[in-house]
C-alpha cells in the first residue's frame, strides 16, 4: 500500500490526517482506509499546516532567513517537524467485494494508514440499465478511470438541478448527458435552448450523433436543412398557458376569459384584431393587444393582416407543432427548441404549452393505468429562477414548471433546472430536486443554498465547492451512495471516444 498519510485525531465528520512527506493530498481528494473485510472512503474537505516547532521559533527562523542572517538555515529533519494536516470525512463504507456500500457510522481505527483511492476501489459504481453519463470519478484534481452514470429512470422523475456560475461548464455537462441518452427510448427530453448551443449548428453538437435522425428533433426559427421550423399556431395557445408567465390584472384576466368563452381557440386572434366583446372595456382591450405585441410579437399590419415580428407565432401555420413536440417526447426522443431569437416570455410560453400538454396527457395516462408504458419526460430549463424563483411565484403565482417541480414525479415528468442563483428557488422546491450536479460557485450565499438542500451532508464542503475548477463537479443525489466528485469530459473530446459512425443507407432515386 502506498501510504499517503495517517489518521492522527478527529471526530465523526472531521477526521485529521497527517500527510506523508513527498505525498500530496488535495482538497476534494478521495482517500481510503482499509479495515479487514471492508474499507472506508474518505474525502478531504480542508487542509492546514501542522508543526512540532513552537510558533515563536518558526517566526524567528523566518525572520533570520528574510533579513539575511542565515541563508542556509533550515529545520532539522523538516519532514518530521512540519507537515500538512488534512481534514477529511468518511463518505462510504465499502465491503471488499464492492457489493455492500453503506454510510459509515463508526470512525476508522485510530492511527490507521490512508492511501489514495484506486480504480479497483470503485467497482460498486456500475453502469445502470438506463444510463446518463456524467464523467469520470475525480479525486481532487486527478481523474480516476471510472465512469459515473446515473440511472435516468430514477433521477429524471425526481428532478435534477445544475447550479453553477457562468463559465463552469453547465452547457458542456448537459450536452454530454444528452449525447449519452440519445437513442435510448425510455425518456424524452425537452430542451429549451436560449443560447442555441446544444444542437451544434456551427460546431460540434448533438447533430453529430449517429442516432440523431430518429431520435432528435430540432426546432428553430432559422432551421438548418432537415430540421423543423419553430412556428406555433396561435390557436395552440390557451389562456392558462400564460399562468405565472405573463402577468395580467384581474380586469385583463376577466377579458381573456370572455374572449376565450366566445371565440375558443381563436381568442388571441380576436383580441389582436380588436373584435369588440360585451363587458370588455376598449382600454383593457388595447392593453391586452399591447401585451400580446410585446410578449408574442403579434400585431395587425396596415392591411389588417395578422403579423408576427419573430415569425414564431402564426395564425395559419404551425397547427401541429406543439403536438408534434409532445408526441416526440412521448416516444422517448430529445427535442431541442432554439429560443435564442425569442424574448423570455415567448420562450417560457412555448415551453409552457408543450409541458402542459405532456403533463396533462400523463395525468390522464395515470388514471387509465397506462403511465407505466410511457417514457419519463424531462424538461431542461435554463435560468430556472425565471419560473421557479420565490419572487416570481409570489407575484405571478404557480406556473406549469413549478407544478411539475412539485407534482411531476407522480406523473413521470421531471425538470433539469440549470441556474446560477440557486438561492432564489424556494426550499420546498429545491428539496424536491433530488439530484444536484454541483459545479464551481464563488458566491457564498449560493453555495449555502446548495449545501442546505443537498441529498448528502455537504456542510463541510463549502470550500471544496468554491474551489471546483471548470469541468469539475460534485454529484449529490438520493440515487448515489455518496456525493461523488466527478470530472466532466469536454464534449468535443467525449464524442470522439463515444461516437459511432452514422449508417449510410444506399438510396436509389426514382424520378
Amino acid at each position: 500500500m502506498e501510504v499517503a498519510g495517517q489518521i492522527v485525531s478527529g471526530k465523526v465528520g472531521e477526521i485529521l490526517i497527517r500527510q506523508k512527506s513527498e505525498e500530496t493530498i488535495e482538497l476534494g481528494d478521495l482517500l481510503v482506509v482499509e479495515a479487514g473485510d471492508h474499507f472506508l472512503i474518505l474525502q478531504v474537505f480542508d487542509l492546514r499546516y501542522g508543526s512540532q516547532i513552537s510558533p515563536s521559533a518558526r517566526e524567528l527562523l523566518a525572520g533570520m532567513k528574510l533579513e539575511g542572517f542565515g541563508a542556509g538555515l533550515d529545520f532539522l529533519e523538516p519532514e518530521l517537524r512540519n507537515y500538512v494536516i488534512a481534514a477529511v470525512k468518511a463518505v462510504a463504507r465499502v465491503s471488499n467485494d464492492g457489493k455492500d456500500v453503506k454510510i459509515p457510522k463508526v470512525l476508522p481505527d485510530f492511527f490507521s494508514s490512508v492511501r489514495h483511492i484506486k480504480k479497483e476501489d470503485l467497482t460498486f459504481l456500475t453502469k445502470p440499465s438506463n444510463p446518463v453519463y456524467l464523467g469520470k470519478v475525480r479525486s481532487g484534481s486527478k481523474t480516476i478511470d471510472v465512469d459515473v452514470y446515473l440511472n435516468a429512470l430514477d433521477v429524471f422523475r425526481h428532478h435534477i438541478v445544475v447550479p453553477a456560475t457562468t463559465g463552469r461548464g453547465k452547457s458542456n455537462l448537459v450536452k454530454v448527458m444528452l449525447w449519452s441518452m440519445l437513442g435510448q427510448d425510455k425518456f424524452g427530453v425537452l430542451v429549451l435552448d436560449p443560447h442555441d448551443e446544444y444542437y451544434g449548428r456551427h460546431e460540434k453538437g448533438l447533430k453529430d450523433h449517429s442516432k440523431v435522425k430518429d431520435n432528435l428533433l430540432y426546432y428553430s426559427s432559422t432551421p438548418p436543412a432537415g430540421t423543423n421550423t419553430l412556428v406555433v399556431n396561435l390557436r395552440s395557445i390557451l389562456p392558462w398557458h400564460f399562468q405565472g408567465i405573463v402577468m395580467f390584472t384581474d380586469a385583463q384576466q376577466d377579458a381573456i376569459k370572455l374572449y376565450y368563452n366566445r371565440f375558443k381557440e381563436d381568442w388571441i386572434e380576436n383580441i389582436v384584431r380588436g373584435t369588440p366583446v360585451d363587458g370588455v372595456a376598449p382600454r383593457t382591450l388595447e392593453v391586452l393587444q399591447r401585451k400580446f405585441d410585446t410578449s408574442l410579437g403579434v400585431y395587425l399590419d396596415d392591411a389588417g393582416n395578422l403579423q408576427c415580428r419573430n415569425k414564431v407565432f402564426s395564425d395559419t401555420a404551425g397547427t401541429t407543432t406543439t403536438k408534434d413536440i409532445a408526441n416526440a417526447l412521448e416516444k422517448g426522443k430529445i427535442v431541442i427548441v432554439d429560443t435564442s431569437r425569442l424574448l423570455d416570455e415567448a420562450e417560457l410560453l412555448i415551453g409552457s404549452i408543450v409541458v402542459s400538454q405532456i403533463f396533462h396527457r400523463y395525468q390522464s395516462y395515470k388514471s387509465t393505468a397506462e403511465l407505466d408504458t410511457k417514457p419519463i419526460v424531462s424538461v431542461v430549463i435554463e435560468e430556472a429562477p425565471r419560473v421557479l424563483g420565490a419572487d416570481v411565484l409570489a407575484s405571478a403565482g404557480d406556473n406549469i414548471y413549478s407544478t411539475v417541480a412539485r407534482e411531476g414525479r407522480k406523473f413521470k415528468v421531471g425538470l433539469i433546472a440549470i441556474t446560477q442563483l440557486t438561492s432564489l428557488i424556494p426550499r420546498p422546491i429545491l428539496a424536491n430536486m433530488n439530484t444536484k450536479i454541483i459545479l464551481g460557485n464563488e458566491m457564498a450565499a449560493e453555495r449555502r443554498a446548495i449545501i442546505d438542500s443537498a441529498a448528502q451532508d455537504l456542510s463541510e464542503d463549502d470550500r471544496t465547492i468554491a474551489s471546483l475548477d471548470k469541468g469539475e463537479a460534485i454529484v449529490s443525489s438520493n440515487f448515489t451512495k455518496f456525493a461523488v466528485p466527478i470530472q466532466i469530459p469536454l464534449f468535443e473530446k467525449y464524442i470522439e471516444t463515444s461516437a459511432s459512425k452514422k449508417e449510410n443507407e444506399k438510396t436509389v432515386f426514382v424520378g
Binding site: 432551421p223 421550423t229 401541429t320
Partner: protein, 418 residues
C-alpha cells in the same frame, strides 16, 4: 404575363360508386376545361393524378381523352408521382402516359456521390423552370430530401417552380397530425412558387425564404373525409398563377361539382331503438334531393348494440328522397352495453392505426422492424397492400400473384424468397 395552372390530388379512380366516379371525373373535366378557357401556358399536376398506379382502364381512358384535348391546344402538362400513383416495383400509368407524350414527368436527376442532383425542365414557351420530387409511399421520399443538392438549385436563375407531393410539417392540418411529413428546411430556398400536393386542404402560405407555398387540395375527393370536409364548406378547386419574372397573382379557382349536405347525429344517452327512431325522423326532414349526403353518427349508446340501428333503412330513405349518394360514417359510434370497439376515430385508417398501436405491445417479437412505431408502420403498409381489390378483367391467379408480390415487397421478402 404568363399563366400556369396548379392542380393536385385528382385521385381519378378513387371511387367505386358510379355516382362518385362520375363526379370525380366531372371535376377533372371542368378544371381542365377552365384551364383552356383561361389560356394557361402550362399545367402542373403535383401528384396523385390517379388513385392507384394501375387504375381502372375506363378511368384512364376518360382522363387521357381530356388531357389529350388540352395538349392538342398547345398546353403542356407537367406531372410528378403522388403517393398513390407511384409503385416501387411496377410501372405506373404515369410512366406510360409520360412515354406516350401525353404529359411530361419533371422529376429528373441522379445520385452522385450520395448527393441527389436534380435537373430542371424548362417550359419552352414561358421559359419557366420546373423541378420536383415525387412521393414515395408513406413519406419515404424524405431520403431524397436528405441528400438533395439544394445549393445548385438555389443558384439557378429564372422563374422557378418546385413541385412536390409531401406534407410539410409546418402546414399539417390538425386532422393529419400523425401523417409523415418533411420540414420545409429540406427544400431549396428562393423558388418563385412551391407547388404542393398530398395535403387534402387548400393552403396558401409563405415562410422566410419560401415565398409562395401552395396546396390546392383535392379536386374532388380521394377519401370519404374529403367529402365530409367539402360538405362542411371546404372549397375544392385549383390555382391559376400569373407570372412574369416573379409571381404576380395567385388565384384559387373553385370547381363546384355537386351540392352536399352534412348531417351529424349524436346518439349519446339514447338506446339503439330511440336513436334509430330519432335518426329516421330527423333525416326525413332533410332536403337531400340531388345532393351528396354525408351522415355522421357518433356518441355512446346507453343501451342496445350499434348494429341494432338499421343503417340500410336509413340509406334507403335518403336514396328514395333523391340523394345522389349517401355516405354514412359511424366510426365514432359505440355502445355502453356492447363495447365492440376499443378505440375511436374519425375514419377507418385512423382506427386501424390506433388499434395497431394499441396491440403492437402485446406481440412478442425479437425483430426490431416489427416492434413499436416501425411495426405499426409495417402493419399499416401490409394492410394497404392486402386490401386492394381485383381489377376488371384480372383473373384470380393474376390477382393473387399481384397481391402476394405487393405483400413481399412491403415485407422486403422478395430477395429472401429469391
Amino acid at each position: 404575363m404568363h399563366k400556369f395552372a396548379h392542380i393536385s390530388d385528382c385521385h381519378l379512380g378513387a371511387h367505386r360508386d358510379p355516382v362518385l366516379q362520375k363526379l370525380e371525373f366531372a371535376a377533372f373535366d371542368k378544371a381542365l376545361t377552365r384551364c383552356t378557357q383561361e389560356e394557361v401556358d402550362f399545367i402542373v399536376i403535383s401528384g396523385d393524378l390517379f388513385h392507384s398506379n394501375i387504375p381502372d382502364m375506363g378511368v384512364v381512358n376518360n382522363a387521357v381523352k381530356k388531357m389529350r384535348e388540352v395538349r392538342d391546344k398547345g398546353i403542356p402538362i407537367y406531372v410528378i408521382y403522388g403517393s398513390h400513383d407511384y409503385s416501387p416495383n411496377e410501372t405506373s400509368i404515369v410512366d406510360i402516359l409520360d412515354s406516350a407524350g401525353l404529359f411530361t414527368k419533371i422529376v429528373k436527376g441522379e445520385i452522385e456521390k450520395d448527393t441527389l442532383k436534380l435537373e430542371f425542365t424548362e417550359d419552352p414557351e414561358t421559359k419557366a423552370k420546373l423541378v420536383g420530387i415525387s412521393a414515395r409511399k408513406t413519406g419515404m421520399e424524405e431520403k431524397y430530401y436528405e441528400i438533395l443538392d439544394r445549393e445548385t438549385l438555389e443558384k439557378e436563375k429564372g422563374f422557378k417552380i418546385f413541385v412536390f407531393h409531401s406534407a410539410l410539417s409546418e402546414f399539417k392540418p390538425d386532422f393529419l397530425a400523425t401523417m409523415a411529413s418533411v420540414p420545409i428546411s429540406y427544400f431549396p430556398k428562393g423558388f418563385d412558387y412551391y407547388a404542393g400536393g398530398h395535403i387534402h386542404k387548400q393552403i396558401e402560405e409563405k415562410l422566410p425564404g419560401y415565398n409562395k407555398i401552395v396546396y390546392p387540395g383535392p379536386l374532388f375527393a380521394g377519401y370519404p373525409r374529403d367529402l365530409e370536409q367539402s360538405a362542411c364548406g371546404e372549397k375544392r378547386g385549383f390555382y391559376i398563377v400569373s407570372f412574369d419574372d416573379k409571381v404576380e397573382k395567385v388565384e384559387f379557382i373553385e370547381i363546384p361539382t355537386c351540392e352536399y349536405i352534412f348531417f351529424e347525429y349524436d346518439a349519446s344517452n339514447k338506446n339503439s331503438t330511440q336513436a334509430q327512431q330519432e335518426l329516421v325522423k330527423r333525416i326525413k326532414e332533410l332536403d337531400v334531393a340531388e345532393k351528396v349526403v354525408l351522415l355522421k353518427v357518433k356518441g355512446e349508446l346507453s343501451g342496445g348494440k350499434t348494429s341494432d340501428i338499421n343503417f340500410s333503412q336509413i340509406r334507403n330513405i335518403l336514396t328514395e328522397n333523391g340523394a345522389l349518394h349517401v355516405n354514412i360514417n359511424r366510426f365514432g359510434l359505440s355502445s355502453k352495453e356492447y363495447t365492440s370497439l376499443k378505440v375511436m376515430g374519425e375514419d377507418v385508417r385512423e382506427i386501424e392505426g390506433k388499434l395497431l398501436k394499441e396491440s403492437i405491445g402485446s406481440v412478442k417479437v425479437s425483430t426490431e422492424a416489427l416492434k413499436g412505431e416501425k411495426g405499426v408502420h409495417l402493419a399499416t403498409e401490409l394492410l394497404n397492400a392486402l386490401r386492394q381489390g381485383q381489377k376488371t378483367n384480372e383473373n384470380k391467379k393474376d390477382y393473387e400473384d399481384r397481391i402476394l408480390e405487393k405483400a413481399f415487397e412491403v415485407l422486403k421478402l422478395r430477395e429472401v424468397l429469391k
